[in-house]
Symmetry: C2
Subunit: 210 residues, 2 copies
DNA sequence: AAAAACAAACACGCAAGCATGTTTTTCGGC
DNA sequence: GCCGAAAAACATGCTTGCGTGTTTGTTTTT
């Protein structure tokens, strides 16, 4: 019993510590919001001291930006995996919507709602966020393009339609904050699914073969 | 030159002061955001002292809630006027979208983006906001219902379609914060206008006469 | 005279940034 | 393969600025 701690390398320690702090940041962002997010709380949540945080991250802005970058990347890679999992004929447009809605509603877009106001009013913060978000949008466009190939529609059409779908979901989730009315949102989502079926998808194999 | 000030009644003074403070609140909410909104700034902007503000409003939350209520009411009454101004045959669905988009994009929804996070994380604030927003949504539904009569479609269909339109616009405006790309948003808006033309409107007089 | 409207000053709490300690890991020389 | 210095990782305490709520004081209307 020389030491219970197995002497980890500094790189491993550092990486683990940063990961814990970034995860705590996203969790608190979702639970309490940006204005109530404090660096002492982040450190506490990660089981570390505030000094550890200031050692790895220059400022509150810095840790938030890096936490959001990680969240956005995890999101696109998850979506990509989903779209690859079952291509064209087995996956219909309803399935895509049924993936996107919970993806956004279970955290992603509530976190977005927290940092959008700060991004709008804090030029430095916005400048740091812009490249991350551009990558995110580019990754989405790439996924919509692959979907268009599966469905046999022009890429441009799929991109516009799916980006509109994302915007619709964003607006709906924003509304959920002050409207607790699941039936209302289900109605809109069903309406949209119907629209997507005729506008994007469900060409029968015979049609797609041509 | 006994007095340049013409001895106004207390009620008139009070009303004017409150109006100036509420207008300053909305303006600053749009310009600097909720977290940067301070009561000294509001008073300064209104050309009054902080004491005047605290005299008329119990707290920062209080003045914000009342300012937002005024903004929401002004919005619905403006929209109602617009829809009454030129009913059915002369007003097409494109015109409605061309009214709604600037209405939201020139301030209303950016202000919304400022207070939504606070509403999500501050139960007291949210509770005060809920009735105002319920009235707002009810007023919108009433307007959509009148539109449905003009266009000769079932009220339910118009309500779902127009509420979806509002959600789409909300989501798009949220995206504008970190995506400066007018062509992208125009493309989506044009796409949606096309959908609305076939889905809601533009039945020819002969058809509507029946 | 009293009550409302407005003004100015005070007090408290909090969170970020910084600076100064302590521990753990790394690495070069022997 | 070991020892000691340097550096990285982590912890603790201080300081400063700021915004809200509150209180006390002054002017205007009733």
């Amino acid at each position: 019993m020389t030491s219970a701690a197995p002497r980890r390398s500094q790189e491993a320690r550092s990486e683990d510590t940063q990961r814990r702090l970034l995860e705590a940041t996203v969790a608190l962002l979702l639970e309490r919001g940006y204005t109530r997010l404090t660096t002492p709380d982040i450190a506490r949540r990660a089981g570390l001291s505030r000094g550890a945080l200031t050692h790895h991250f220059a400022s509150k802005e810095d840790i938030v930006v890096r936490a959001l970058g990680a969240q956005l990347e995890a999101t696109t890679s998850g979506l990509r995996r989903f779209c690859d999992s079952r291509p064209a004929p087995t996956m219909n447009t309803d399935d895509v919507v049924d993936y996107l809605w919970p993806m956004m509603e279970q955290g992603l877009f509530y976190v977005t709602l927290e940092y959008l106001p700060e991004a709008r009013n804090n030029p430095g913060f916005r400048a740091q966020l812009l490249p991350l978000v551009q990558d995110f949008h580019a990754a989405l466009d790439a996924i919509w393009t692959r979907l268009s190939e599966s469905y046999g529609v022009p890429p441009e059409q799929a991109r516009v339609t799916m980006n509109a779908t994302m915007c619709l979901i964003r607006g709906m989730i924003a509304q959920t904050v002050l409207r607790d009315d699941p039936a209302y949102f289900k109605q809109i989502l069903d309406y949209w699914k119907g629209h997507l079926r005729t506008s994007l998808g469900a060409r029968r194999p015979a049609e797609r073969a041509a």
